[in-house]
């Protein structure tokens, strides 16, 4: 009986390893985001010496997103007092009279050029009489522009990964565009949110006396699990589709004709996807711990049962979606949409200083309905706040209950005939 379950799990793992597209989405995409967010927060955490105020004029001739992003970014920088102008000439006038230290001109077509990887320039006109201010402005500009090119790379990365996925390539061009735009939209919003309220906010709020370094790392104990939990639940669609694929490919007939119990079939699949989810957690949190100094907390062993339970919830949710869907495609889409929605509600995306479950009011209550929020709460408590195993038991209990509920619905509703 258990041997059969293992046989099914092993076959499933072999199938996963052949599905490069899904693996890229589940492993490479979160790694890419992790590296970018993490890197960005580190950078902002480092440059935290305000004091000087420099007057700068900005002209944004670009109509695309990067021009807008850069202008917005400049406005958020405390050291700069920004005035917006319509034309380059208008912006240069105060520089010439010494009223402003510099004028920044974002050229027309800037976004297209970044997207097309063509070299492009942002012009910074400085007042030679104020060399210090001028060098500050140029320094800040370089940093901001760096970011803009990172956007370009992220966009490129998303495309590359999506194009590797079967579901994406078989979709119509309109669907592809919509899908890419949706992903990009969610991620850009998330990144922007992060950059506007970067870790500095967390740091200055929480860290009377503590070093900035420690603060950013505590923040990472929320940020990386958020990303991890979000991507763990992206296995839901893949997992659901794989169960329905058995019916579509006709192999379900063979499974039904073999001396297997339905629970061995569902159990084997669940086991395989749990292994996949555990691998995701190990890779993502491992990278965070090694490269970003994310703490593992005072009870690192407690992370193991938590991760296994999280993996179980995600796999069981996949089985439930399979039981409630008709075709693999439908299951995959449902899983993906649910992945985004629940990640949003559960606080994987919104970046406050603490998990969303701790927010009072409707949002906090709503978030508690998602497994994401409970998982995130437990990871953050363990790693960021040095909670003990016993302290996170309630969260694990809730997660386990959710998983069992999903699994029961799956076993009850899945049609074990052709």
């Amino acid at each position: 009986m258990f041997k059969n379950t293992l046989a099914i799990a092993w076959k499933e793992i072999q199938l996963m390893l052949k599905d490069r597209g899904s693996l890229a989405i589940l492993f490479l995409l979160p790694l890419l985001f992790g590296a970018v967010y993490g890197g960005m927060n580190l950078k902002f955490a480092d440059t935290d010496d305000a004091g000087i105020l420099v007057r700068v004029g900005v002209v944004n001739l670009d109509t695309g997103i990067f021009g807008e992003e850069i202008t917005a970014a400049l406005h958020t920088i405390d050291e700069l007092q920004i005035t917006d102008y319509e034309t380059a000439a208008e912006a240069e006038a105060p520089v010439a009279t010494g009223e402003a230290a510099a004028a920044i001109v974002i050229p027309a077509g800037f976004t297209e050029q970044v997207n097309a990887y063509t070299p492009t320039e942002i012009e910074v006109i400085v007042d030679p009489a104020q060399p210090e201010s001028a060098s500050i402005v140029t320094g800040i500009m370089n940093q901001v522009v760096d970011e803009a090119t990172i956007w370009g790379e992220i966009q490129y990365g998303i495309r590359a990964v999506l194009e590797d996925s079967d579901a994406f390539t078989t979709a119509s061009p309109e669907q592809q565009q919509a899908f890419a735009a949706q992903n990009l939209g969610v991620i850009m919003t998330q990144l922007n949110e992060m950059r506007r309220n970067p870790a500095i906010a967390v740091v200055s709020e929480d860290l009377e006396g503590a070093t900035i370094e420690g603060g950013i790392e505590i923040f990472f104990a929320l940020m990386f699990p958020g990303l991890t939990v979000m991507f763990v639940f992206f296995i839901v669609g893949v997992c659901a589709a794989s169960l329905l694929n058995e019916r579509e490919a006709g192999t379900l007939r063979r499974l039904l004709a073999a001396p297997l119990t339905p629970s061995a079939i569902i159990g084997g699949k669940t086991l395989a996807y749990m292994a996949l989810a555990c691998a995701q957690v190990v890779v993502l949190l491992g990278v965070a711990a090694i490269f970003f100094n994310m703490p593992l907390g005072a009870s690192p062993l407690a992370l193991l049962p938590l991760t296994v339970i999280l993996a179980f919830v995600a796999a069981a949710m996949g089985m439930m979606i399979a039981a409630l869907s008709k075709t693999p495609k439908q299951a995959d889409t449902t899983g993906t949409v649910l992945g985004f929605v629940l990640a949003g509600i559960g606080g994987c995306i919104a970046m406050g200083p603490t998990p969303l479950t701790r927010t009072t009011g409707f949002i906090g209550i709503l978030s508690k309905l998602t497994p994401h929020a409970h998982a995130l709460e437990a990871y953050y408590s363990l790693m960021g706040e040095n909670a003990t195993f016993v302290q996170v038991l309630p969260e694990m209990g809730i997660l386990l209950a959710m998983g069992l509920l999903f699994f029961t619905i799956a076993a009850w509703r899945f049609r074990f005939t052709d």
Binding site: K3, K11, G250, L255
Partner: protein
């Protein structure tokens, strides 16, 4: 010999529609038993019920003595199923597929390895065993599909139209494998097809199934005897309605009709039907006889008396195709 399969009044309803309407038959241990019927006859549905893929709506069956309702788990260990549609994991290699289908029957270790090598040999795919199924030709995929049903050495093998869409070479190979499994390993086989040639070649007994019912069940010889006589094709320089009527009226002759085409070539062979233009080489008259021998004598005598030139004469044994036509008034294949 003991029956390895006994089926009694087995029925399957899909909602209001009754796809299988109470079929009964028995298969002896060591027999190759044919289920012959047109598309939608209910062959696959019957097999699905006997293998545990679908629950029956009514009736009973025993596989190796095990009741398919109460003791399906045991029955499944005796059964082997080769589904009509390919049922394999295309991204895995042939060997990985076979390993998996062996494991779910409890095989492992050295046993599994030997069994997989054995079935690969049976379907002649040892060389390609480690390549992904999706890189295989249609015929090769079919062969792996068959192999997957053999790994656990079933005593009773259900082959559901195993030759659909297969090139002639692979088809012959499949026939040989079926015969060898039966002869050398004593495997009992239920062979489903709507190609009567295959069933005639492979099966000792045949159930002809149509619209969910078994309309005839016997040895091929006895089924053909149902027709009584045979068919004679007579080549003439010309013929008209009056002549056909006169021929049909001869003693021992049942009917006479012009045929425009020769009998359909064996499926998949792709042979071009030979043209028989009436002007150049004359016409062919198909004579259905109550008694072939007698009819030939009468026809020749009649034609000689009229001084009509006989250009060819062919005596055909009646086949299952004609039996099916005879029983249902329909062609087996449209």
């Amino acid at each position: 010999m003991a029956a390895i399969l006994e089926v009694e009044n087995l029925s399957k309803k899909f909602g209001e529609f009754e796809a299988v309407k109470g079929v009964s038959f028995a298969v002896e241990e060591g027999e190759v038993f044919g289920l012959l019927g047109p598309n939608g006859a209910g062959k696959t549905t019957t097999i699905s019920m006997l293998t545990g893929v679908l629950p029956p709506s009514a009736g009973a069956a025993r596989v190796g003595g095990y009741d398919i309702r109460a003791e399906m788990h045991e029955a499944k260990k005796i059964n082997g199923l080769v589904p009509q549609d390919l049922a394999l994991y295309p991204t895995l290699s042939a060997r990985a597929n076979l390993n998996f289908f062996g494991r779910i029957y409890g095989l492992q270790g050295k046993d599994l390895k030997e069994r997989v090598s054995d079935v690969l040999r049976i379907v002649s795919l040892t060389e390609r065993a480690d390549q992904r199924i999706e890189t295989f030709s249609g015929g090769m995929k079919r062969r792996v599909n068959i192999a997957a049903g053999l790994v656990h050495q079933p005593r009773l093998l259900f082959l559901d139209e195993p030759t659909v869409g297969v090139d002639p070479q692979s088809r012959n190979h499949i026939f040989e494998s079926v015969q060898r499994l039966n002869r050398e390993r004593g495997m009992s086989i239920i062979y489903t097809s709507h190609y009567m040639e295959e069933v005639e070649l492979l099966c000792s007994r045949v159930a002809i199934i149509d619209e969910g019912r078994i309309i005839a069940l016997d040895t091929i010889k006895n089924l053909i005897a149902l027709l009584g006589g045979g068919v004679i094709n007579v080549g003439l320089t010309r013929a008209n309605e009056a002549l056909l009527a006169q021929l049909a009226a001869l003693p021992a002759v049942k009917e006479a009709a012009l045929i425009s085409q020769p009998l359909a070539p064996p499926p998949g062979e792709g042979a071009e039907p030979k043209e028989r233009p009436a002007s150049a080489s004359g016409v062919t008259v198909k004579i259905v006889a109550e008694h072939s021998q007698q009819a030939v004598v009468n026809v020749i005598g009649f034609l000689n008396g009229r001084d009509i030139t006989l250009t060819s004469l062919e005596i055909l044994e009646p086949n299952l195709e004609s039996v099916f036509l005879h029983l249902t008034g329909k062609k087996l294949r449209e």
